[in-house]
């Protein structure tokens, strides 16, 4: 196994989690902020990959999603176990961007390189860091033309829809894309698709520009 490359800081600033009143709940779970919901309507991980591959092969992947490498980063849903996540948070060393064991040895790095390594993502193309702040700023300034493009490509509704968009209005392609992008951005739910996700969805266009994460 290749050793993880020296850590490089991600250009990502964590979003402040929204406050949610929990007093009204009979049993309040303080771990709700780190819970990844089980997305009932999401496709099985391997089924989605095979569908995308099949579209690519028969020439109907008009947006170039398969070639974009985005599907590589779509991880399967996992069982939640917050005690381990809390322990990782306690053992996290920000200077090394790694989780350490009590003796100080690295258990695993939390870096883009480590993630690419475990997913066997190897490319010679130049990669651009993903900035959440940048996404938020750009997403907040969607033009009319972009909203029109969004509706043409991903919305199955007679009326024009503006973000945030409830996923019932998305067509299948839109849902699949939102399903791949949302967890990468750390969203707990795909019920509403907001500007940041939409901005990334709009990176895919009919001229098949390959967008590498």
């Amino acid at each position: 196994m290749d050793p993880p490359v020296a850590p490089i800081a991600l250009n990502v600033t964590p979003l402040n989690a929204p406050q949610r009143e929990l007093e009204w709940k009979p049993l309040a779970d303080l771990d709700y902020q780190i819970t990844e919901e089980n997305w009932m309507f999401s496709k099985h991980h391997i089924h989605l990959l095979n569908e995308l591959k099949s579209k690519y092969e028969n020439g109907t992947d008009i947006l170039g999603i398969w070639e974009s490498s985005l599907p590589i980063f779509k991880l399967p849903q996992v069982r939640q176990f917050h005690d381990l996540i809390h322990l990782c948070a306690i053992c996290y060393d920000a200077t090394q961007r790694a989780v350490l064991d009590p003796s100080g040895s690295v258990v695993f790095y939390v870096t883009p390189e480590a993630i690419r390594e475990m997913l066997q993502f190897k490319t010679k193309k130049k990669l651009v860091p993903l900035s959440l702040i940048d996404l938020i700023q750009k997403g907040a300034k969607l033009t009319d033309a972009q909203v029109t493009k969004l509706n043409q490509l991903y919305i199955s509704s007679d009326t024009m829809r503006y973000p945030p968009i409830h996923n019932v209005y998305l067509n299948q392609l839109g849902r699949d894309l939102a399903d791949m992008i949302s967890p990468i951005l750390g969203y707990n739910s795909v019920e509403f698709v907001d500007e940041t996700v939409i901005w990334l969805m709009l990176m895919f266009s009919l001229d098949k520009k390959t967008y590498l994460l």
Partner: protein, 305 residues
């Protein structure tokens, strides 16, 4: 209630996969790391042990015992006990105030709170605080409603308002919510043992409220093994029925079959251009992570022929 804003540390799926990728030798479940060409495949396809899907061949208890427990052991100075001291103290605060017992079976753990009339869940061998808290609220809440608050009496039992990361806001409904959460994990239940009140904890309080006494049902051959610190050979073993055995064998076959499913996944275009560089030879190189000296994990690894 003042909710503190917690620091965020999530992406559970990435964390699990990173642990598996860098510490795979610490785990004993079967995994398939190489493809037919002997190249390292994406960690996503190594094993479904922690994947969440309806047809997963791994039970929740297996997920805890096979993945979570070894993973947590790596991050602690010593492997956590089956039931932590804190949990034992909650059940047995003192001789005068004990609210329940624990039973260590060979492959699972059972908590029995006095006065509860629900079948306890079979918790994993290693009981994490999160599961303990849910079982505590569920059983203690049920006992309280059943014997006191549900009979118009002032709540008699001092149920903790917070345990682990749970806050128990409403007694009447909170235990049902805990029950629902445990049930959703697919845990099996142990046998119903009622009335369960070996120290007359409930009975004495009922009498104080002019309610009828609550007479414990004795099962000496099980009771003698209550509250042990470790499971010992010849103590508690819950017999497995033929049906359960067949089901287990079926799941074991599905675990192997699931690894074959990985062969259906194609390579991505434009990626893995240096896959050969990640050959098995390269992968044997030492990395700067812990526990790379043991070759135990490799023996368990299933290489594709």
């Amino acid at each position: 209630m003042n909710m503190p804003r917690e620091k965020m540390f999530r992406y559970t799926s990435y964390i699990y996969h990173l642990i598996l990728y860098y510490q795979h030798e610490k785990f004993s479940f079967p995994m398939r790391r190489m493809d037919a060409q002997g190249q390292l495949r994406s960690v996503v396809y190594w094993s479904p042990v922690f994947h969440s899907r309806p047809d997963t061949p791994y039970t929740y208890c297996e997920f805890i015992d096979l993945f979570i427990y070894p993973a947590m052991s790596m991050l602690m100075t010593s492997p956590p006990p089956r039931l932590t001291e804190e949990m034992q103290r909650i059940l047995h605060l003192s001789k005068a105030y004990s609210i329940g017992d624990w039973y260590l079976y060979q492959n699972h753990t059972v908590i029995r709170i006095y006065g509860c009339e629900l079948a306890p869940y079979k918790l994993p061998r290693y009981v994490p605080m999160r599961l303990f808290a849910l079982e505590y609220f569920r059983q203690f809440g049920n006992a309280d409603v059943l014997h006191f608050s549900g009979k118009g009496k002032k709540a008699q039992l001092k149920v903790r308002n917070q345990l682990g990361h749970f806050i128990y806001n409403k007694r009447e409904e909170g235990w049902q919510e805990a029950d629902r959460m445990l049930e959703s994990l697919g845990l099996e239940t142990s046998f119903l043992w009622t009335p369960y009140d070996p120290n007359h904890f409930i009975s004495l309080r009922r009498v104080r409220y002019r309610l009828s006494s609550y007479n414990h049902l004795r099962i000496p051959h099980i009771e003698q093994y209550a509250n042990l610190s470790e499971w010992q050979e010849g103590t508690l073993e819950e017999p497995i029925t033929q049906e359960e055995l067949a089901l287990k064998q079926k799941r074991d076959l599905l675990k192997i079959a699931d690894l074959e499913l990985c062969t259906q996944v194609y390579s991505f275009p434009g990626t893995q251009v240096q896959a050969a560089a990640s050959s098995s030879k390269t992968n044997q190189q030492t990395i700067q992570t812990t526990g790379q000296t043991s070759s135990k994990g490799k023996e368990k690894e299933m290489e594709e022929q």
